[in-house]
Symmetry: C2
Subunit: 362 residues, 2 copies
């Protein structure tokens, strides 16, 4: 073992030649992951797809492939215990992972749950958290098969890995959209983001005004979309029933902009989506107006919708029209084309990834 | 959605009837997991083994079963960046997960890596961390297939899930030791714990004494056992080669005491292990003497050895004797018997789980 040197500045200790360390905020989340993982080499013949999609795809020797995805939620970053009931939080933590399995056109089967806990938490709080996780597992027919429970010096950390299965040929990737394919999205967008804005506003009032309880009534839809989202198992089933296999698919966690760019960049082609076609619930639009936010901005950049964004071949146009709750919002274009938003006034605006920037200097 | 109420005391908000919340420190780690998971029901016909062993065992339809295990490491609890070089830490984080796969008599195949990062970390630090993980993957022929990279408001959190494979009949559980089986352990015990004691002592000196660098020379073995442990892939291979299938197996992460109790309680029988047979490296014994700790105490309660503790049928006695580096430390006894340590002076002492208590009031 090389001789060990203790360091006060623990996070720059590995910086070669004592150069100025590069702060994380200089790179976005996606750039950081790209930089960290670019040197990783594939060494396993059973790995059909490693890093870079909603889930990894692994051959098992059986008829179906294994799908694996992991998500981590940290207190104060991804949730606020002031307004996130423990049971809802447990439910959501499981659901966001299952959503990634559905986005691969798979069926979730098991999860492992690792929790980082601080001493200030009560056993009763954790029981509620587990109750929520268990409820999600019942809802989606999934089983908790393991995990880890450790102490954390700071807040609550929830790290979940979900496993699922799919026929190898049924798996849908981000990178396989074809030119002129139709772009579809399930449900409506932007609601979870507006729910979050509302909760944050009421939290500020609650904290500054001697604990006056906020009036959240009448906003059930957007609050539920934020606090207790669902994964679109029903959409996957409806597509199967209709005999449609999407040519590409992703779930909307970072926002329509970022996630559409994953499809276009992954597939090496462009896209046009139409502002007027983006599905937005009236409750979302109303709250956006209160906040002086364009509803389309909430849909494009808000994230946490856990809806499915997918492309289909033109030949499936009639079939998709028969499935309720699916909107065709545009179409893929050709190679070397950009991803564009065509506004109501017919202006063409290039789409940028303005989703959640984990390490930004906000 | 029920009407939402904001709470200042966020961690007791779910406590029914406003009873006094139960602090986590009232339960040990194992009791807590037991309480949280006892209501979980098995709902998946493919799950051969869920919670309660080193890894879950899942049927895939192929010839081999899937093994899955998750571990979370939190800064300030499981590692200290003052003396843990980033590359070693990355290496260790992967290895401790692979160790659980080997403990099921399996072959690790893939891992997912989720990281919670704080803004104070540099990109260079993370690159070193990844370099260590990649090194472990090369060493054990494993591939990183996914994960998540998020921001954490506190320290570094590393959550890894490892997947592996084994023939269904080759899997070794904690609960299947037989009466009179021989108890074996690989390598030697207590070294990682003494390495930790040394590092903690030198840290205190470093912090109080104006940054004087400690002299850690000559302690390579115990330091490496703490900072850069290995998983016993070689032992699994040697057992296979010798034609021995352990009747039960676990890896020693919490300490010989706790982990032996997992075997005895899981299998419903007792055990006698002999103090004089417990393998301890001279470097461990020497450092234990410096700290006024009994070397056997370090071996019993220290943990983080990542050695394999297993039982074999008496008929395999001669075969096991031919494998270097395996110690027979005792034997299982019968039903309703306790787990005992027989000391050098021939006193019989019941073994208690005195391993790491995650939520204790230390």
């Amino acid at each position: 073992m090389e001789s060990l040197v203790l360091h006060r500045n623990t996070t720059t200790l590995e910086n070669p030649a004592e150069k100025q360390p590069t702060p994380l905020s200089e790179l976005g989340e996606f750039k950081l992951i790209e930089r960290l993982t670019k040197k990783l080499t594939s060494r396993n013949k059973n790995v059909v797809k490693g890093i870079g999609d909603d889930a990894a795809v692994i051959k098992t020797g059986g008829k179906e492939v294994l799908l694996v995805t992991s998500d981590m939620l940290c207190e104060g970053v991804h949730f606020d215990l002031l307004y996130s009931p423990a049971m809802h939080l447990g439910y959501k933590a499981v659901v966001v992972n299952l959503s990634d399995i559905f986005a691969m056109n798979g069926e979730p089967q098991q999860v492992t749950v690792s929790l980082g806990l601080s001493n200030r938490m009560s056993v009763e709080f954790l029981e509620e958290l587990y109750k929520g996780m268990q409820l999600a597992c019942e809802q989606y027919n999934v089983e908790i098969v393991g995990g880890d429970t450790v102490s954390s010096q700071s807040g609550l950390v929830i790290s979940i890995t979900a496993m699922g299965t799919a026929g190898e040929k049924e798996v849908t990737y981000r990178s396989t959209a074809g030119e002129n394919d139709l772009i579809c999205v399930s449900g409506d967008l932007g609601a979870a983001y507006m729910g979050l804005q509302l909760l944050e506003r009421e939290k500020t009032i609650f904290e500054s005004d001697k604990g006056i309880q906020p009036d959240l009534s009448g906003n059930d839809y957007i609050l539920e979309r934020q606090l207790k989202p669902e994964a679109r198992k029903d959409v996957i089933a409806a597509l199967k029933l209709a005999g449609i296999k999407p040519t590409s698919m992703i779930d909307i966690s970072d926002g329509l902009s970022s996630d559409l760019l994953h499809l276009t960049e992954g597939s090496g082609i462009g896209a046009n989506i139409y502002e007027e076609k983006i599905p937005i619930d009236p409750a979302t639009a109303m709250m956006a107006e209160q906040f002086n936010i364009g509803p389309v901005t909430a849909a494009l950049n808000g994230g946490e919708d856990y809806e499915l964004l997918f492309t289909i071949d033109l030949k499936d146009h009639e079939k998709i029209a028969e499935i309720p709750g699916i909107s065709i919002i545009g179409h893929m274009t050709g190679k070397n084309e950009a991803a564009n938003l065509v506004t109501i006034s017919n202006t063409v605006v290039p789409i940028r990834a303005t989703g959640w920037q984990a390490f930004g200097n906000e």
